[in-house]
Symmetry: C3
Subunit: 462 residues, 3 copies
């Protein structure tokens, strides 16, 4: 194993320094919010009995939060275990960078979204938002999967989380955009950021690790655990931070129908693009999820089941076609080595979602939404509210997101190129053994065989 | 690979046509219900402040819905991965037919359960009901697992969902039956429908694929993921659409105790029926779940923990005995090739659940239920309500369900027998390679192939 | 296979006798509580409309219950599948003893915590408490994993559940301790009980099974399923039975931050203690969870995110160091063979959690908690309430727990030493084949071996 990838000092040092900084910043800046603070929540509880415990935001948001949490840690983590010799890293580094990012995101989002008397207030909503931001980092991780050290990934997360918070602030607070499920803020941003990073980190000799850059039978089944959890809980993801009541309910349902339709499109086109008419696990694992991405903006609107299903069908279709035809071109022509094909799962469907969101916003009306209009479009309380210009702002939001992601990815990519992070050599990409004690490897022969042999021998002789 | 199983045109065509039909029908027929529509939910929100967001059905039902959703996609999907070479198809086809069925079920159930001014109203309750109907199709899938093409499965789903909706309508609306957890509508129906289909599709030469019709070590562990999720979330399944408050709470708890008791019975009888006293994974994976099936009807009633545990114990016992003694007879004498043994997990326990439900209904009284009586038995509001006749209607419901399932399965079986669906030949049943790109096969030196070959060779020569 | 381990009579007999006893006791002693009983819940529903269905404890507790349930059955079950040839037993015996323990715990906890007119009242809160008690048994299972028969494990569960209930009663009811997440009652108790049992069952010749007492690549991935679920749902675990409103909300959030911080510490120290700077799956699978254990007592208090992160960081650190340096010493010097290293995951972090809880209690004040004080510290309603003495009682609670666990484990260990339970011989520890029908073994040729060899050959020669 090359010395240059030994992480004994680099990784502990980085982790400990980051966590100490986080702890100090949390100690000075973070406070319980109204619904988590014993004093604030119970203020006036004796005088005024009209507030009840079930009104605590915990009961509205926590089940959704847990579903989102599962998507972040199991969904993303296992989805990436499809590689034959990179399961430990997929789940493990996903775990590490998510655990870091959610803490860092709490601070960054707290900063830009407004301090309360100099303090960041936290509760279940900030936890969901932190998980969302983390999702964006994990999307980018998919592009560089197998080609980066955990130190690099943590450095990437530092920058990406920061930029995510800034972009989110511009979209939601400056441009007043709607993006509850993050078609733009999470998926488009995470995808194009990651694609730019992997472009800068281009490895002309990645072929040397080609034999490991594919799945085996069991690793594909592990990956399906990730896929199915993402698929099932996407309705919770898109609805997790919408307004209470009808918007949350509607968003979950729209997402449910979009995903169902997307799944049929995915199976259809996966078989169609194969000369033998065979289904490809890569498509099923990924493209079937594009329907969730593509209703991330419009899901809370009156998109209807009908609209959701059309969007889902389109998303599944472009995603499969992207895997089949676009990914090879991106690699050969644009030198973008996108391990998980995030462009097909998050990039294009994210842009589609942004466009659908802009159109659906532009079509909003008091007639359709009634008194519920301002619960979806916050600025509709204002009499001068104009859906067309709202649609325009949504489109601008997409442009801003793309610019921020590409620029941010470019800068971050060059920072990650410094030869100090223990990045794997071209010959040892997609290989757990570089950063993990892989069972039995120490003795120089395969554990699986050794393991089987003695027990076998014994059995036969008994 | 035989040309006859090439799905390149058949599968895409069917998927696309079905989805287009679904989209058109959703566009013309489906509307948001009161709790998902922005206008309806927020109507009068200014005049009348007594309705609160937490009263939206979303907060009562969505956590249960997500648990049901996990059972449908992870539970059923992974439970069937026990076959050594059929994991992709188990999870994948489960995914495909579930995604189709839930859309189709929304329409069929909407039709028969009553349109609102010509429209089907959808919300979280319709989503749960659609998932329930899908569960029934997946039960039938268990009987024909490994012996059908995805095209056949989709065709089966079209018919089964339709009949399910009709049967459900007869039971719940015509006969006024109770069946919140679906002992009859879901389990009995799905099981006997599937058993009849597999009977009609009988393959005398299935022995040619015998060496693949069994598990390997890791596939049994994947299957346990399915088992455990089904087991854990069954309380949510049975309680998902009961009335709010005590019925939902009680149903979850009754199911919890039934399953716990069932598990002890399963381990006991699994060891007892083995000459070496060894536990059999097939029993643990399946029979331990029978307790959930068997309280699907009576779970919402005042069955008590005591009653639930007796029912669970019985269910586990008959299920293990069924796997050990009945399944081989069904295959040899009745020519019913039941891959997953759904007769033991869903068939007999479903019938048991129907009987238990009839008895428990017949024993209901104002004395035990107090003012809660009509919240379990809707027609108890009527003064002439008579528990004995209620019990009778429950028994009739079982008979109707069996008749509908067997007849429906018979007809559907013959439709599925047409030689146009790309069904696998007898020599290639239980084999993913027929319909899936199995990793690396193209290059001819795939790890999996190497891996598979010797074991294959050896088996053939042994 | 040695005759002495044949369970054909022993296991069925024990399971059936236990379940019959349980059913009889449930029949005579257990009743629905106010929120699950049709009559009680709907009492006066006509006269008084102020009680609403959403006030049923089901809606406050059931989502948390399901998360806890997943931790017990998937979390613990899969975490222990890391052993190469013990996956069936890990998930399967976990399943069996959990299903038994939760029933037995309902009775034992019901007895000691107070009968209502001679009856035990059950509802979702008793279900959570029963699952908690079960967790304690599963922790002890981790110490003896691979070295005990299922009969032994059930016998252990009988005693441990009973003692757990007594200890819990002393802590919560006599000493008035706070321990919502069970740092003491669950983790410290389960760990030291299990360590003492494994000490008594010491096997000097366990080396004979050494080659099976380790992981393989895929078994480590299965174990990560357990780890990640435990990690994600620990916030629900610690908050499941706190008071409604701010305490539940705050506990979940404190646990979330503690775990995130713990994860960074775990990765840091795992790399640091490895000469090659490589991460060790054992640490990641286990130590990353110590942060949840360590805020089990103080989580509901005003610990702040800052405090939680410090505690989590410490917990991860001592846990990794424990695995690396202490476990080998415990085995060689104290003859404690701790298969899963529960001392590092539950023992030390549990004690840390108890200490943190005592300190945080002692620092509680009306100033910080306002009117919420008595919602965390029940006896704070009393004017004479003194935080320092409260802290003292917390410390006494830890001492009582340690004493009960060690003494109970000692006695139980000797009971389990009787040669009547079909315990595995030293040569066949960590081996599923002893108690399970393992696929393919009948034909005398191990699938696993065939599969591994050729791919290995190619790798070596390439």
């Amino acid at each position: 194993m090359p010395e240059s990838t030994n992480l004994r000092l680099r990784l502990p040092l980085l982790c400990i320094i980051l966590e100490v900084i986080l702890i100090i910043l949390f100690g000075t800046l973070v406070e319980y919010n109204h619904d988590t603070d014993a004093k604030l929540w119970n203020k006036g509880i004796n005088q005024n009995a009209t507030r009840h415990d079930y009104e605590n935001e915990f009961y509205y948001r926590y089940p959704s939060f847990q579903d989102v949490h599962v998507m972040i840690f199991v969904g993303f983590g296992f989805l990436m275990t499809f590689l034959q010799r990179y399961g430990f890293s997929s789940v493990g580094f996903n775990f590490l960078i998510a655990a870091f990012s959610l803490q860092w995101a709490t601070l960054m989002q707290g900063f830009v979204h407004g301090l309360h008397h100099g303090k960041i207030h936290v509760g279940v909503t900030s936890m969901i938002n932190a998980d969302f931001c983390t999702g964006s980092v994990l999307i980018s991780f998919g592009a560089v999967l197998g080609k980066t050290s955990p130190v690099q990934l943590l450095v990437m997360a530092i920058f990406e989380v920061t930029l995510f918070a800034v972009n989110e602030f511009i979209l939601l607070s400056v441009l007043g955009a709607n993006d509850a499920g993050g078609s733009m803020t999470i998926h488009t941003f995470g995808a194009y950021f990651g694609l730019m990073v992997t472009r800068v980190l281009y490895r002309p000799n990645l072929d040397k690790s080609k034999h490991r850059n594919s799945s085996v039978y069991h690793s594909d089944l592990f990956a399906m655990i990730g896929t199915i959890y993402l698929w099932m809980f996407w309705p919770s993801f898109n609805s997790a931070i919408t307004n209470y009541g009808d918007p949350q309910h509607r968003t979950a349902m729209n997402t449910y129908y979009s995903l169902a339709s997307c799944t049929l499109a995915t199976f259809a086109f996966s078989a169609l693009v194969s000369p033998e008419g065979k289904l490809d696990m890569v498509h099923i694992q990924n493209a079937a999820l594009a329907g969730g991405v593509a209703v991330g903006t419009a899901g809370e609107m009156m998109l209807t089941a009908f609209g959701s299903m059309i969007v889902g069908f389109l998303a599944g279709t472009i995603s499969v076609l992207g895997y089949k035809y676009l990914t090879p071109i991106l690699e050969s022509k644009l030198k973008i080595q996108d391990t998980c094909g995030i462009h097909n799962l998050h990039g294009m469907p994210g842009v589609l979602g942004a466009v659908v969101g802009a159109i659906t916003s532009a079509m909003a009306s008091k007639e359709v939404y009634g008194n519920g209009l301002h619960r979806v479009f916050a600025d509709a309380k204002d009499d001068k509210w104009d859906p067309q210009s709202r649609g325009g702002f949504q489109a601008v939001s997409l442009a801003v997101t793309l610019a921020m992601a590409l620029l941010g990815g470019l800068v971050t990519g060059f920072i990650l190129k410094l030869p100090i992070y223990g990045s794997p050599p071209d010959t040892h990409c997609f290989e757990d053994g570089l950063y993990w004690e892989v069972p039995g490897e120490e003795e120089g022969h395969n554990e699986l065989k050794e393991v089987a042999s003695p027990s076998e021998t014994e059995k036969l002789s008994s």
